[in-house]
């Protein structure tokens, strides 16, 4: 079994499929391949945490629709992924009538954080380039390159819309310098980020500013990694960094949620 074949069955992990539902050589490959092993363990964690959401309160359906729409708009999911997000991974939740209103406002953060991780993992696995791309060294990989080219060939996979390339952060040079021709433009916060900031603003103006700074930083990291992956789809390590950046954002949401509760 190859990495590509493993990636094709990974979405079933999110569905909570039992282990015996996978091809017989799935386990053998995962045990022998560190990259797939990491991916599988991450996805299992995401799936288990998403299932645990069943005991909490459900956000309004519009929240899921807005998440899906925003992910589609940012090019983070294709329609099948969005459908999965809207249906398969939607937790079954029971509202608690006596809950204070502010908790209602805050608890959407948990599924959003989980959805964000799920979306990130799905995008990364869904858009992963074929193995051959990784095995064929690019000029950047064979010789030290002090500066990332300012203009790179459009190696963005067909599934990644142009909008993503537009919204992605510009790459930094070796020393973190932003090439002059690609000055970064801070994009408008997404609807979910705005809602997140609205919720944390209940903690005070300075707290909101702190979270906004952290959120901007994490979003910048995501855009930076995404832009690099778009240009270098065969770079498995960069993909892992993209996944790490999504996890950082989920961590930020979770920390905020803990504080509000």
């Amino acid at each position: 079994m190859t990495c590509s074949e493993v990636e094709r069955v990974l979405p079933e992990l999110l569905d909570g499929a039992p282990d015996d539902a996978f091809p017989p050589d799935f386990d053998a490959h995962v045990k022998s391949c560190p990259a797939c092993s990491d991916l599988v363990s991450d996805l299992k964690l995401i799936a288990s945490q998403a299932r645990q959401l069943a005991t909490t309160e459900e956000p309004a359906p519009r929240v899921w629709l807005r998440i899906a729409a925003e992910l589609r708009a940012e090019g983070l999911t294709s329609d099948p992924a969005a459908r999965e997000l809207e249906s398969a991974h939607r937790p079954m939740l029971v509202p608690v009538p006596s809950s204070p209103r502010w908790r209602w406002r805050a608890l959407w953060l948990a599924p959003v954080a989980a959805a964000m991780l799920a979306a990130g993992a799905y995008v990364i696995s869904y858009k992963r380039a074929p193995q051959v791309a990784q095995q064929a060294p690019t000029p950047q990989e064979t010789s030290p390159s002090p500066v990332i080219p300012a203009v790179t060939p459009p190696s963005v996979p067909a599934t990644a819309p142009q909008q993503m390339a537009k919204k992605s952060a510009k790459p930094t040079g070796v020393n973190g310098a932003v090439p002059a021709v690609e000055a970064a433009v801070e994009p408008e916060p997404s609807a979910e980020d705005q809602q997140f900031l609205s919720v944390v603003s209940t903690l005070g103006a300075s707290t909101r500013a702190t979270y906004q700074n952290q959120l901007n930083a994490v979003n910048a990291d995501i855009r930076e990694a995404q832009a690099y992956v778009d240009r270098n789809p065969g770079d498995a390590d960069a993909r892992q960094h993209l996944m790490d950046a999504y996890q950082q954002k989920a961590l930020l949401y979770q920390i905020a949620l803990d504080r509000i509760q």
Partner: protein
């Protein structure tokens, strides 16, 4: 005329004295009220516990310091900065829960509660404080510490799981033996000194990671940052396989590593794979754009 003038002056003096007295009394009253409102108080709670106790302390504002105490008792000393905050405490068997309860109008100053906690050395410990600091030492039960801006310090712990999570707070672990360590922070720095165990994971988005130790115990050590630098200091006789890679940054080592096959493409100056000694531990240092240095002590 002169006597009338004297009387007028005397009356004015009396009025002035009266105003001064009133002001003084008001000031004293205000001071009393203020000191009552911000009165610092200290409370102590004692709980008898059996083996495998679980202790949780949660405070929005304030420091938590936990040390090893007697095997069958938990002692919590809480210093409340004002009457705007209370301490809720609950015991269910050997499970102890302590939480600061902010009252209406409490803020970072008036809602602060500092805790000093003595627990059995093998107790499981959960701590949360937004601003901290959080300090734990001389324990060998599982530890979970979470804070937003809290500075986290853990020292002299062994044979336990250590989970730490912060947003900006720096995290320092010292003398952790045989630990299963997982640290995550968004922008805090991570300092690890003499931290060993079967699993040591540390990730920071924008913070730096420093490691000073021998990468012992045949463990897996994985340090990851996005933009932060990573610096690892190890003795010359370290026994580990190193995989070091920075996507956009530079890497450097002064260890004479033996080249090792890797399925990942190596890029001179930004990645290397190699072994030292018998390669008993696996060390992975990864950064997206930070600089990584592996230095010999």
């Amino acid at each position: 005329m002169a006597s009338l003038r004297k009387a007028s002056i005397r009356q004015a003096g009396i009025q002035q004295t009266s105003i001064h007295n009133t002001a003084a009394v008001t000031l004293v009253l205000a001071t009393c009220l203020a000191s009552a409102a911000f009165a610092e108080s200290k409370k102590e709670y004692r709980f008898a516990v059996g083996p495998n106790a679980i202790v949780s302390v949660d405070t929005q504002y304030g420091a938590i310091s936990v040390k090893s105490g007697s095997a069958d008792q938990v002692i919590v000393t809480a210093t409340l900065k004002s009457d705007d905050v209370e301490v809720d405490q609950q015991q269910s068997g050997s499970r102890i829960e302590i939480a600061s309860h902010l009252l209406q109008g409490a803020n970072e100053q008036t809602g602060r509660v500092d805790y000093v906690v003595l627990i059995p050395p093998d107790a499981t410990l959960n701590l949360h404080s937004s601003i901290g600091p959080l300090s734990v030492e001389q324990l060998h039960g599982d530890l979970t510490l979470e804070g937003t801006d809290a500075v986290v310090n853990i020292s002299n712990v062994e044979n336990c799981h250590v989970h730490v999570r912060t947003m900006r707070g720096p995290i320092t672990l010292a003398s952790v033996r045989n630990g299963h360590v997982e640290i995550a922070t968004i922008s805090g720095d991570i300092h690890l000194k003499s931290v060993t165990g079967p699993l040591v994971l540390a990730s920071s988005g924008r913070g730096k990671i420093f490691y000073d130790g021998d990468f012992g115990a045949g463990g897996d050590y994985k340090f990851t940052t996005h933009t932060g630098d990573i610096e690892a200091l190890a003795p010359a006789d370290v026994s580990a396989e190193f995989r070091v890679h920075s996507v956009l940054g530079r890497v450097h080592t002064d260890f004479p590593l033996l080249p090792h096959h890797s399925r990942y493409s190596m890029k001179a100056g930004s990645s290397f794979v190699g072994t030292a000694g018998k390669a008993e531990s696996a060390v992975v240092l990864r950064s997206f754009s930070g600089r990584i240095r592996l230095k010999q002590r």
